[in-house]
Structure formats: structure tokens, C-alpha cells
């Protein structure tokens, strides 16, 4: 196959794989045969439930609670496909909106150690946001800030995921060959969506990606050219 078609072919293959995974997910959820989902379905199993933890749906999908009210295999398939597509589209939009910043983040991401550090930073950030939001909620007046913070964190995680995809794309580019950068990044993003669509494990994989991405965004100060150095204040 000529080098020109390698990337489009890979992209198509990954999209097909994503659709197959959506189908698998949908059929699993339709039949609810997996132990985890059945346990969650039959919640009245004697364990005391804390007030305020409403049993909500099946849980366990990477894209939030699965809508319970509408069912049907075709609808489930569409739901998974649409949410995965949303993830890819939003992350790609991040790359298009902040190409230079994404590039700087990828440059900082020069070893797996940095990725590990980003994961730790992401975990710390999540816990920080958790505690801080709780404090904000207690003040009642500042409650809206908690929502704003969570949106900010989601955007940060999305940007981080996009950067991780760009990094993966750069690694793959060395082996597969050059192509339009957006095509390569899109392929990597679809690969991430594939990961997220793996039944049950996808939830954790996407969580891991999101936390690492958030950490990466925090570590590089949203891909700013000078990181956290405050030299620019001193002129």
C-alpha cells in the first residue's frame, strides 16, 4: 500500500473497530449478562445505601450514566457511537483551537516519566477540585463556582487528551509515514475512543486518560510557552 493511503486506511479500520465495539457494548447492555451490571441492577441486596447515592442506571459506561428510559439495541448502539464521536470531535476542536499550545505540551511530554508525573498531578488536581468544590458548596453563595470549576477541569482534561493523542500520533508518524497532521491526530483520537468503548474496562481507561490529560494541562499551565515560570511578571 502506498504511504499516502496508510493513514486513511488506519483511520477507517479504527472507526470500524469503534462501531464494532459500540455494537458489543450495546448488546451487552441490552442483555445485562455481565456480573457487574446485574449487581447494579438488583440493588436491593441488603447492603445499606447511604442517603444521597441514588441508584442510577447501569453505570459503568465511559460516557456517564446510560439512559434507562429508552432502550433497544439500535438506540444503545447510536448512543455509544454518538458519545464517542462527541469525544473525538471536542478533542479535535481543542487541537484546532490551540495548535501552538498543544504542540508545546507534546514537546514537554518527552518521556514516559513525564506521563507518569502527569498522572499523579492529575490525581492530585482531581482531589483538590473535589475538596475545594465541597468547601465552595458549604458556603452556598459560591456554589456556582463549583460548577464553573468542573467545566474548567473537563476542558482541561479534554485538552490534555487531545495532546496525548497528538503525542501518540507523533510516535506513530515516525513508523507509518507523514500525512496531514490533523488526519494523524484524528486517527489517534479515534484510537482513544476505541479504548474507551471497550466494555467496562473502557470506563477506567478513559478515566486514566482524562486524569493524565488534566495533569498534563496543569503541569504545562495549559501549554504556555514558559510553564509556570513567573519571569514575565518581573520586567
Amino acid at each position: 500500500m502506498t504511504a499516502r493511503w496508510r493513514w486513511p486506511a488506519l483511520l477507517v479500520a479504527l472507526v470500524v473497530l469503534a462501531l464494532l465495539l459500540c455494537w458489543l457494548d450495546a448488546s451487552l447492555f441490552e442483555r445485562t449478562v455481565l456480573p457487574g451490571s446485574r449487581r447494579i441492577l438488583t440493588r436491593g441486596d441488603g447492603l445499606p445505601r447511604p442517603a444521597g447515592f441514588p441508584p442510577r442506571g447501569l453505570g459503568g459506561t465511559p460516557f456517564g450514566p446510560f439512559p434507562e428510559t429508552i432502550s433497544g439495541a439500535l438506540f444503545s448502539l447510536g448512543w455509544f457511537a454518538a458519545t464517542a464521536l462527541g469525544l473525538v470531535a471536542l478533542a479535535a476542536a481543542m487541537l484546532v483551537a490551540f495548535p501552538a499550545r498543544a504542540r508545546l505540551v507534546v514537546d514537554r511530554l518527552d518521556s514516559l516519566t513525564v506521563a507518569g508525573t502527569a498522572l499523579v498531578a492529575g490525581l492530585a488536581t482531581v482531589l483538590l477540585l473535589f475538596a475545594f468544590s465541597f468547601l465552595l458548596r458549604l458556603t452556598i453563595v459560591l456554589l456556582p463556582l463549583a460548577g464553573a470549576l468542573s467545566i474548567l477541569a473537563a476542558l482541561g482534561a479534554l485538552f490534555g487528551i487531545a495532546c496525548l493523542a497528538l503525542w501518540l500520533a507523533g510516535q506513530a508518524r515516525l513508523r507509518i509515514g507523514p500525512a496531514h497532521p490533523l488526519l494523524i491526530a484524528l486517527t489517534a483520537l479515534v484510537a482513544f475512543a476505541d479504548l474507551a468503548l471497550i466494555p467496562f474496562a473502557g470506563l477506567f481507561l478513559l478515566g486514566l486518560l482524562a486524569v493524565t490529560g488534566l495533569g498534563l494541562t496543569v503541569l504545562t499551565r495549559f501549554g504556555s510557552p514558559r510553564g509556570w515560570a513567573m519571569d514575565e511578571l518581573d520586567w
Binding site: A100, L104, D110, R173, L174, P178, P225
Partner: protein, 192 residues
């Protein structure tokens, strides 16, 4: 680590009493394992070319020193990731190029001042005739400037330039032709 260093020194002094240098790829492997002496040897071997490269890229002696230092620090951090099965030079120059690019990108654009307000230590590129070309090269789009510097200034083969830039040889050739055409136009406009 000690044994590696000892092996390196033994190899280096094997015949010729220290005059024989280890090839860069071997030095890179040793330095990646944490051998500071091997890294120092590597820096000594490359500092001239790296400095020259940085100078052609940023056109300022002081900044070139900054960039050179940054390139070597970056190299030190990344040596562990270097795969000794691949050629060292393209990998290294690719890394050096990225560092230069980032440096230029985050550099605060300074207003152009009088030509002699910078380093007083005599700028060889200010020689008449040479300066026009050097200046034109400095103003060239980096997509064209980079292959020209790599091929003509660093004497890299087209193949190596292509590997460094992640392009095909044909693409490198075409960029060099276009870069040289821009230089030619700029120079003849200045002359005419």
C-alpha cells in the same frame, strides 16, 4: 555504571593511548546509562556544530549559547529514550531542531536596534557580502531555512536531512530549491 565507564575508557585507550574516540552512537548509549564522562565527551564532540547551528538559527552569539546549552540539557534528559539501533545523527538533530523552534517561539520579540548594540565582540557574519546572505537566511521561512542550514552548514546528506525533518528526500530537495530561490530573489533585490 562503573563497569560501563571502565569499558568505555578501555575501549577508548585500546590502541593509540586515548587518542581514539568512541563513535557518537556508543557515547550516546553510555551517556544514556548515566555515564557523565561519556556525555561530556559527546558534548565536546558536538559543541562546535551545535553552536554553529544555533547561531545560524537565532543569529545572536549570546542567544546561540543559551540555545546550545538548552539543546544539550534536552539531549541529556532524552538520551535514555534513544534507541541505539537507529542512527544517532538524525535523531539528535531532530531534537536540536525542536529545541531551537521552541526557543524562538517563546522568545520575546525584541525591537531591532542598531546593528552594533549587541555583542561587541565582532560578528563574523557582518563581513560585507556575507552579511546579506546571512541576513536573508535569517529572515527565510523556517520550513526552507532548516534544510539549508542542515545540508550546507552542517554538511548533512540529503538522506539525513530528510530523516531529521521527517520528510521524503524529494520534499527536502524541493524545499531547498525554493529556499535558495527566495534567497536569490532577496539578494538580487538588495543588489539591484
Amino acid at each position: 555504571m562503573v563497569s560501563l565507564r571502565a569499558a568505555a575508557l578501555r575501549a577508548a585507550r585500546g590502541d593509540g593511548g586515548g587518542a581514539v574516540r568512541l563513535p557518537p552512537i556508543e557515547l550516546a548509549r553510555l551517556a544514556g546509562g548515566g555515564d557523565r564522562e561519556a556525555f561530556e565527551e559527546l558534548v565536546r564532540g558536538y559543541q562546535r556544530r551545535v553552536y554553529g547551528f544555533a547561531y545560524q538559527y537565532v543569529r545572536d552569539a549570546g542567544e546561540a549559547q543559551d540555545v546550545t546549552q538548552e539543546i544539550f540539557v534536552h539531549l541529556y534528559r532524552n538520551l535514555r529514550r534513544y534507541d541505539a539501533a537507529r542512527p544517532f545523527e538524525p535523531w539528535f538533530w531532530r531534537l536540536a531542531t525542536n529545541v531551537c523552534l521552541n526557543y524562538v517561539r517563546r522568545r520575546v520579540p525584541e525591537p531591532r536596534e542598531l546593528p552594533d548594540s549587541g555583542d561587541a565582540g565582532g560578528d563574523p557574519a557582518d563581513l560585507p557580502g556575507e552579511s546579506a546572505l546571512a541576513r536573508a537566511l535569517g529572515e527565510l521561512d523556517r520550513a526552507y531555512r532548516l534544510p539549508l542550514i542542515l545540508h550546507y552548514h552542517l554538511d548533512m546528506s540529503l538522506q539525513q536531512v530528510a530523516q531529521t525533518m521527517g520528510l521524503s528526500v524529494a520534499a527536502v530537495k524541493s524545499r531547498m530549491h525554493r529556499g535558495r530561490a527566495v534567497l536569490r530573489r532577496t539578494l538580487s533585490e538588495e543588489a539591484g
